[in-house]
């Protein structure tokens, strides 16, 4: 379990690019051993926050302390103890898998024998041992992402930063990456990740903040967020487009905490989905399809921002 040592402390952290405010005075604390997530849609300010934590983007204003050091003045010493897995692969595709790790290890000033030993272990960890001598270019997206993760671990970092670790991967490759990240978490590596996938946030994060338009909208564990901002169950109803608006009107007096009318469906936030469905039918509402499901972080996000995550 995470102890109470604070590894990252941010207060009033702000990043502006000209007139555009990417990160708008956010504050958070991150403890050793935690898996901490920034959940939000594209453009919410997640990557800008990550780059500030990675000490490659000086904050416009505010305070950012990482492992007790100032992110601007001591960026070099901080980076020596961070692992960074960027959103866009930055592997040297002209080199081999092994050479990529060798180069990266040298950036950290590691002796060759240490790099060789770690390379063997890390390639085993990300299941790329049999590709060690191959050029990177032809590797699949999932393999490249796993290699990037291995590369980010070569300095045995105290904090691993992952910016959208599975964006652009197919479902199977995503699960392999999740599995590796979950193992890292079990091994006590502190993970900081950004994602716009609610399932990723739910699977990997002990605690997360929901970001929208550069601000933190809410903070807590996935379960706490769902309990605070949503109902246990959600009834999803789909109608024929011509009946959509009419049905939504009829549903207005079905007892529910909240109703969301989306373009393609109506969501009812209720304690008991089956009972709500029966109540809807009793009012003569006949949906094309109906689904009773548990609330997710997607519902939390919808509630907090009025928008969906993946649009």
């Amino acid at each position: 379990m995470p102890d109470s040592e604070v590894l990252i402390h941010a207060r009033e952290l702000t990043k502006r690019f000209g007139d555009f405010t990417a990160v708008d005075g956010i504050g958070f604390e991150l403890h050793r051993g935690e898996a901490f997530g920034f959940l939000g849609p594209n453009g919410a300010g997640k990557s800008s926050t990550m780059r500030m934590i990675g000490c490659v983007s000086p904050p416009t204003s505010g305070e950012l302390t990482i492992m007790g050091m100032d992110s601007v003045r001591q960026g070099q010493a901080i980076r020596a103890r961070l692992g960074v897995c960027p959103q866009e692969d930055t592997l040297d595709v002209e080199l081999t898998v092994r050479e990529n790790l060798l180069i990266y290890g040298r950036y950290f000033g590691l002796p060759k024998d240490v790099i060789v030993e770690r390379t063997a272990r890390l390639l085993d960890f990300v299941q790329l041992t049999d590709r060690a001598g191959d050029q990177v270019e032809p590797l699949s997206g999932g393999m490249k992402r796993r290699l990037t993760i291995a590369r980010s671990l070569v300095n045995e970092p105290e904090i691993l930063l992952l910016d959208e670790p599975t964006t652009g991967l197919d479902p199977q490759a995503r699960h392999v990456v999740w599995d590796r990240l979950f193992r890292l978490k079990q091994q006590g590596v502190t993970l900081v990740l950004t994602t716009h996938y609610m399932d990723e946030a739910e699977q990997l994060c002990d605690r997360l903040v929901v970001m929208d338009a550069g601000r933190i909208a809410a903070e807590g564990s996935p379960r706490e967020l769902i309990e605070t901002y949503s109902t246990p169950e959600v009834l999803e109803l789909r109608f024929h487009p011509s009946e959509h608006d009419q049905a939504a009107e009829k549903l207005a007096d079905v007892p529910a905490d909240r109703m969301e009318i989306l373009a393609d469906r109506v969501l009812l936030y209720v304690p008991d989905g089956d009972r709500a469905l029966a109540a809807a039918r009793a009012r003569g509402v006949e949906p094309l399809t109906s689904l009773v499901r548990r609330s997710t972080l997607e519902d939390v996000f919808l509630r907090l921002t009025g928008r969906r995550l993946e649009d």
Binding site: F17, R51, G54, V56, S57, P58, Q76, A77, R79, A80, R81, L82, V84, P86, E88, T90, L91, D92, V93, E94, L95, E99, L102, I103, Y104, R106, Y107, F108, G109, L110, V114, R121, L122, D124, F125, Q127, R151, L153, N155, E156, R183, L184, Q187, G188, V189
Partner: protein
């Protein structure tokens, strides 16, 4: 699978070194990359001087020599031309290293961004690449010198000093061009740089004929170009006609240009990589 990514027995955190040590880390990246392409690069480093010295030094040179070589300082055209081409070669090497490889690192491959996430700072990446460029300059000018002596185009043992002169001449170009290249998003401006920068310099900096053959009004332009200073230095060393005071002036001019380039490039690297 029982693989462990971060074992309990850690070897301690990575080390942060001084400016030189950090530059060497960045330099070694280029070295690893170069391991794949060095054979081809050596081939062209040898072929280039043979082709130029053969066609122009011997071929064209025979015609030139028949018309008298007073304006060349009473040496054969081959002996006059060879050190000029040596210096011009440094310009070409510098230009090749300071343009496309820099843009590739920051834009196409993003290997600079990968390195910037480590203890390396933007200036370390610049220094590492300039070290590598220096190595390439030293290699190419050494090869050129060997070919040049095989052609019998060397008249003084001082010519070995042309190797550091070529490194300096190359740096006077590489550093400012690198300062420009790191700000680019597309490579189209490089073609312009080649067409309106490299080629006129190559032709009018005293490489093929003495600058004194140019109309008087345009000569100051030639004297202001860094290549002319490199050509003058190499020629003086190869012909054994170096004047110490003039040589110091050339070196100072080239060093000032290289230094100014490094300072601007340091700033531009930082602006590009720390957004």
């Amino acid at each position: 699978m029982a693989a462990t990514a971060v074992p309990a027995g850690r070897r301690g955190p990575a080390r942060v070194g001084g400016t030189w040590a950090m530059a060497v880390r960045a330099f070694r990246f280029w070295l690893v990359n170069y391991r794949r392409t060095w054979r081809g690069s050596i081939y062209s480093s040898v072929a280039n001087p043979i082709l130029y010295l053969g066609a122009m030094g011997l071929g064209l040179g025979t015609l030139v020599d028949q018309h008298g070589t007073a304006s060349l300082g009473h040496v054969s055209y081959l002996a006059f031309l060879a050190p000029g081409l040596l210096a011009a070669g440094a310009l070409q090497t510098a230009m090749g290293e300071a343009t496309y490889p820099v843009l590739a690192s920051v834009k196409w491959l993003k290997t600079y961004q990968a390195a910037a996430a480590t203890p390396l700072r933007p200036a370390d990446l610049l220094h590492g690449h300039l070290l590598f460029t220096s190595m390439r300059l030293a290699m190419n000018s050494t090869i050129f010198l060997i070919v040049m002596s095989a052609f019998g185009a060397v008249q003084s043992a001082w010519v070995v000093l042309a190797i550091p002169v070529c490194v300096l001449t190359g740096m006077a170009f590489a550093a400012p061009i690198e300062a420009f290249a790191i700000t680019r998003d597309k490579d189209s401006s490089f073609a312009v740089l080649y067409r309106f920068g490299l080629i006129p310099l190559f032709l009018f900096s005293g490489t093929f004929f003495p600058v004194t053959q140019l109309p008087a009004w345009i000569r100051p332009v030639a004297y202001a170009t860094p290549l002319w200073h490199g050509v003058a230095l190499c020629r003086g060393l190869s012909l054994g006609t170096t004047d110490a005071a003039a040589a110091l002036g050339h070196v100072a001019y080239l060093a000032a240009l290289a230094l100014a380039g490094v300072l601007v490039a340091q700033r531009n690297y930082r602006r590009r990589l720390y957004v």
